[in-house]
Symmetry: C2
Subunit: 96 residues, 2 copies
């Protein structure tokens, strides 16, 4: 399944910036970082649950916010962009 | 259609923070701000094109990034959250 994960943290504090770095490192192991706090992740239910568990130990649940949106099958190919944003390939085309 | 709009801008500069405020104000006229740079928008094709036109005049296309993801029909009701994030109602239930 295709998931968009967005993370909101107060990056004006060193602790917030540290948490963002840890969340980013963890999510980059699962997908692509397309914006400072936006990650595109191709995953399955089991791996997603493990990811959520790990995120829960990193974030400050009193101040930070994480949202996960489930996209349609072709969700990552159907992104509209402005400015420096680019469509990111998640799956290599097969050459037959 | 249900759209997620994410905006990436360097908020360490006053100009960047000003652009984020302008983008937020514009997008809040179309939907809900659920994180600092994430907006949930219920719209139609024509209004979306107008929004994109207006965003294009606000952002610095050399440094800023805007991404729009089209969600499935129940996309905003199917959001998983951690921390302070909450599901936002976009459509009032009808009382019959």
């Amino acid at each position: 399944m295709d998931i968009m994960l967005t993370y909101d943290v107060d990056t004006t504090s060193p602790e917030g910036r540290r948490r963002l770095r840890r969340v980013a490192k963890l999510c980059e192991g699962h997908g692509l970082r397309v914006q400072k706090s936006v990650f595109e992740i191709v995953t399955d239910n089991k791996t997603l649950l493990q990811l959520l568990d790990q995120l829960d130990t990193i974030i400050d649940t009193n101040t930070d916010s994480i949202r996960l949106y489930r996209l349609p099958g072709d969700g990552f190919d159907d992104v509209q962009t402005l400015g420096t944003a680019q469509i990111q390939p998640h799956r290599e085309d097969l050459v037959l």
